[in-house]
């Protein structure tokens, strides 16, 4: 085969702004999401949630509920196998404690699932829910992260059958400690800063609520049609908790209306399937918006402490990082999110002494889960705030201070090896790093110096200020995540690309088709993409950890190369050439001035000579997780009379290696940044004194609309990552990590007050201004 294909850099499809392959069907409303099909005899599934934050269930009486006309099943924990599991859709064995039952035997937060009903109509289902009598023994709850760890605090997981909880008696659901030390702690530092930070509860707010439909096919196999990011983990976990064989389950992932991590949890599928098993009927469970807020998953709030030492010349000597991750009632992603707050931040700063102390903590509040940024968001808020504080204390420009410290190409970090995701990591050296270019081009596009100059002269109650933040993330989980793809040639020269990779609205179907098209010398129009269906597509861990482009992309590239080899062989015969002379371009095989259409190649293989199916299959797992890098720049105004913060302008630059599709890469970053801005300024789940969420609607939990969004711009900084498909790294998560620290730094620049607990609401900012000495 042509040796150039794998490493080519003059692209015809990759790195082009190809239109997203499902865009037009989505814009026409014809693309089908989970709930966009009609199923005859579909029952409505509804869940009864606990009204108490912490209560033991003495007895549940479902007799009256079962009598409601139209009700076909009422289930409680007593009706289901008692299988402790985690809802976190991660590689097996999951590094989260097995502390959850499909329907709880004890209420651990307001919104915990107690019972489930299937009925002919929504009205009957609701009536049945109202007739379930639960005898609760109310227990004292604990809502504060730090209080929950204290001796004598209510023990939330006092059951004896949960597994992998490191210290249930102190409500600790995950712990990790790590230290590398080159000298005595803080002995070389000229300045030491010791600061605590606290981040807030937030929700993903995918516009499509979680929804699952389960039914038996004609052969009696259970079909789960669901809005999931992890179809294969969903199959495995559902099989396990309902004690049915994996081979009896088929998971279909249709179009997904966004996930951002929330749909990396296997939440609805087991309970919906249990209702189908009980009724032998199709059942749908669709969460309401309120249920999505309360009873799906959230971004873990963190309490963080950074104690850092720095020399006057700008070298960071010591980095002591302590994090307390509030996991709510169950331990989903407790170890991994907590660790990622350190593993994605500490390597960037290259301190000689580094220490990480991490605890994830149970409280009687909604459950934390995977959320875009995955701990790095919380970690970078603290770190990038601290960077500005350190720079100020040693009298160095904050940007110069950053340039001096950040990791560079060719450098490694002991943290990479020490901290993986839930287990030991792997050693790696940074092979591609565009941080300097990110900073240079970002500053130029933003007009950093000009704005600084202009802001020197200010008067009046509204003051402007600038802030920046620099970031990294990962690209998949090395030596853990695996993806596979198959590509099958049709007689018209088109291809079916089947992959487990899960497009949840990100555009990965398009990006992966571009990779295959580049290898095969065709356009994406000749690729029919199917993702994902556990009966039809090969395995993939799913869409999380910024892994799809990097890991699934490599699998697709290999599968396409595999198909290409076979095409070249056939074409060589047709063109009377050596395989090494054959190239594929413009939908043709070309050799020595002769060419034939790919359809002729396929026809030949199907019908004329040495008949066979041309088909490539491959899988990929990575031995590195090359970080993308980013630099963010913000200008804000702060109204010193009201505390109102307005973002005036925002520029973010991101090095994602080769952008396989620049338009989609920009779109990923735009979306991440806006979510970050909204998270920085207004998003926060609020709770009543008894632990009930009090703002569980979009009217009360504000997310930015077009009117709220400030002007902002994404700039892609090209680098080439040798381990990535055609030089690509990840792009989807990193952007969300920047706005909180960049805005906190800008507020400080504007008015000289530093906020350590987002969101930066007017009320909070004014309070800080008034407290200013």
């Amino acid at each position: 085969m042509n040796p150039d294909v794998s490493d080519k850099r003059d692209f015809t499809v990759v790195n082009h702004r190809v239109e997203k392959i499902d865009a037009i069907a989505l814009a026409c409303g014809t693309a089908q999401f989970t709930d966009d099909i009609d199923i005859r005899g579909l029952l409505v599934g509804r869940v009864l949630y606990s009204p108490h934050a912490h209560a033991r269930i003495r007895k549940i009486d479902t007799r009256e509920a079962k009598k409601v006309p139209g009700v076909l099943a009422v289930l409680t924990h007593e009706d289901l196998p008692r299988v402790r599991h985690t809802t976190a859709g991660q590689g097996h064995p999951e590094p989260s404690p097995y502390d959850t039952l499909v329907l709880s035997e004890k209420a651990r937060y307001v919104g915990d699932r107690i019972a489930a009903v299937a009925a002919e109509t929504a009205e009957a289902a609701e009536e049945a829910l109202s007739k379930i009598k639960v005898d609760y023994e109310i227990l004292p709850p604990v809502f504060d992260t730090m209080e929950a760890m204290k001796e004598g605090a209510p023990v939330i997981h006092d059951e004896d059958d949960s597994k992998n909880i490191p210290d249930a008696g102190h409500n600790i659901c995950a712990k990790f400690d790590f230290e590398v030390k080159e000298s005595e702690w803080f002995s070389e530092a000229d300045v030491v800063i010791d600061q605590w930070y606290k981040t807030q509860w937030a929700q993903h707010c995918a516009l499509e609520p979680h929804v699952a439909i389960t039914y038996f096919d004609g052969e009696g196999r259970l079909v789960i049609r669901t809005s999931t990011q992890v179809p294969f983990h969903c199959r495995r976990i559902t099989a396990k908790v309902l004690r049915i064989p994996v081979k009896s389950i088929r998971v279909i992932k249709p179009r997904i209306g966004g996930g951002f991590g929330s749909k990396q949890e296997v939440l609805l599928e087991p309970v919906c399937a249990a209702l189908t098993l009980a009724t032998r009927r199709p059942v749908k469970i669709e969460l309401t918006r309120k249920e999505t807020f309360v009873s799906s998953r959230t971004r873990h709030p963190f309490v963080l402490r950074l104690k850092t030492g720095v020399k006057k010349d700008g070298a960071i000597t010591d980095a002591h990082m302590e994090v307390y991750c509030d996991n709510g009632a169950y331990g989903a992603h407790s170890l991994t999110v907590m660790m990622c707050s350190g593993s994605h931040t500490l390597p960037m700063y290259q301190a000689k002494n580094s220490r990480f102390i991490g605890r994830s903590v149970y409280t009687n509040l909604p459950v934390g889960g995977a959320y875009r940024g995955f701990g790095a968001t919380q970690g970078f808020f603290a770190w990038e705030s601290q960077m500005d504080m350190m720079a100020e204390r040693i009298g160095m420009d904050p940007i110069e201070f950053r340039r001096k410290n950040y990791i560079r190409s060719g450098e490694g970090s002991p943290v990479f090896k020490a901290m993986g995701e839930g287990r030991e990591g792997i050693e790696q050296k940074i092979a591609s790093c565009g941080m300097d270019e990110c900073i240079d081009q970002g500053m130029a596009a933003f007009g950093w110096h000009e704005r600084k100059e202009r802001n020197r002269q200010q008067s009046g109650p509204v003051r402007r200020g600038l802030g920046c933040a620099c970031l990294m993330q990962g690209s998949g989980i090395p030596e853990v995540d695996m993806a596979a793809a198959s590509i099958k040639m049709n007689e018209d020269g088109s291809f079916n690309l089947h992959m487990g990779a899960t497009d949840l609205g990100t555009g990965s179907d398009t990006v992966l088709a571009q990779i295959a098209a580049e290898v095969l010398g065709i356009t994406v129009k000749d690729i029919i993409v199917l993702s994902s269906d556990t009966d039809l597509t090969p395995f993939d861990v799913g869409a999380y950890a910024s892994s799809t482009t990097f890991i699934s992309g490599n699998a697709v590239k290999k599968a396409a190369l595999h198909a290409r080899e076979q095409i070249v062989k056939v074409a060589a015969k047709i063109l009377d050439a050596k395989p090494s002379e054959v190239d594929l371009m413009d939908g043709k095989a070309v050799a020595g001035g002769r060419s034939c259409l790919l359809s002729e190649v396929a026809h030949t293989a199907f019908y004329y000579h040495d008949q066979h199916q041309i088909m490539g299959v491959a899988s990929h797992y990575a031995q590195s997780s090359p970080p993308p890098f980013a630099a963010h720049f913000a200008e804000v105004s702060v109204d010193t009379e009201t505390g109102q913060v307005v973002v005036l302008d925002y520029v973010s630059t991101v090095d994602c290696g080769t952008a396989i599709n620049p338009t989609l890469a920009e779109g990923q970053n735009d979306g991440a940044v806006l979510n970050g801005l909204s998270y920085a300024l207004c998003e926060e789940m609020a709770f009543s004194p008894s632990g009930a969420m009090t703002n569980a609607s979009f009217r009360d939990y504000k997310i930015f609309s077009t009117a709220d969004a400030p002007p902002f711009k994404t700039i892609l900084i090209p680098t080439y990552e040798a381990d990535g498909p055609f030089g690509a790294k990840s792009v989807s998560e990193i952007g969300i990590n920047g706005p909180q620290p960049a805005i906190a730094n800008a507020i400080y620049d504007a008015v000289g007050v530093r906020l350590f607990a987002p969101p930066f609401t007017p009320e909070k900012v004014l309070k800080a201004l008034k407290a200013k000495p």
Binding site: A23, T288, G507, T663, S697
Partner: protein
């Protein structure tokens, strides 16, 4: 009460159902709807799946339709309220083989990520462009501020609305329907 010769009169339920007629995408369509059924539910039941359910509380805009040419939240209206009125759903604008210029503009501008909010947003854009064929960016932002999106940051969606305006001006395919 006397029967009105003009107007939409009175609807009475028979066995909990109302017989109504709604002009959907240019055609009068008789529908039987339940008491208290919302227009979104009735439309989806009738196969207009492009209208999405994001919150059932009038807060997200994914259920947006055009009602007598103006954007409306179909989750906040009883289906019976649409009796005798003109409804346009996303299916009434175009289909993948013959998309409306606004739909093409959204695809071309890269404005579609997960796409769950897009039908509502396209219809909000249609209402804007019918009223104001040449909006500036601020007007486009304001017209779309009831349609939430969590994927895109809205950057390319605003570009799409402005691109759609250009397309409609050159093709002349605008106008009310």
């Amino acid at each position: 009460m006397t029967t009105k010769t003009r107007g939409r009169g009175t609807l009475k339920s028979v066995n909990g159902k109302f017989d109504i007629t709604v002009n959907i995408n240019g055609k009068d369509k008789p529908l039987q709807v339940s008491a208290g059924e919302y227009l979104l539910d009735a439309l989806r039941r009738e196969g207009y799946k492009g209208a999405k359910r994001g919150c059932d509380n009038g807060d997200c805009g994914t259920c947006t339709i055009l009602l007598d040419g103006k954007p409306a939240l179909s989750c906040m209206m009883f289906a019976a309220q649409a009796h005798g009125r003109k409804v346009v759903t996303i299916e009434g604008l175009g289909a993948p083989d013959r998309p409306h210029p606004i739909q093409s503009a959204f695809a071309e501008a890269g404005a579609v990520q997960c796409g769950f909010c897009i039908p509502g947003m396209v219809l909000a854009a249609k209402a804007l462009l019918d009223e104001n064929p040449d909006p500036d960016e601020a007007q486009a932002r304001r017209a779309l501020d009831g349609n939430l999106c969590r994927c895109t940051g809205y950057v390319k969606q605003i570009e799409a609305v402005l691109l759609a305006a250009k397309k409609l001006q050159t093709t002349g395919k605008g106008g009310k329907r």
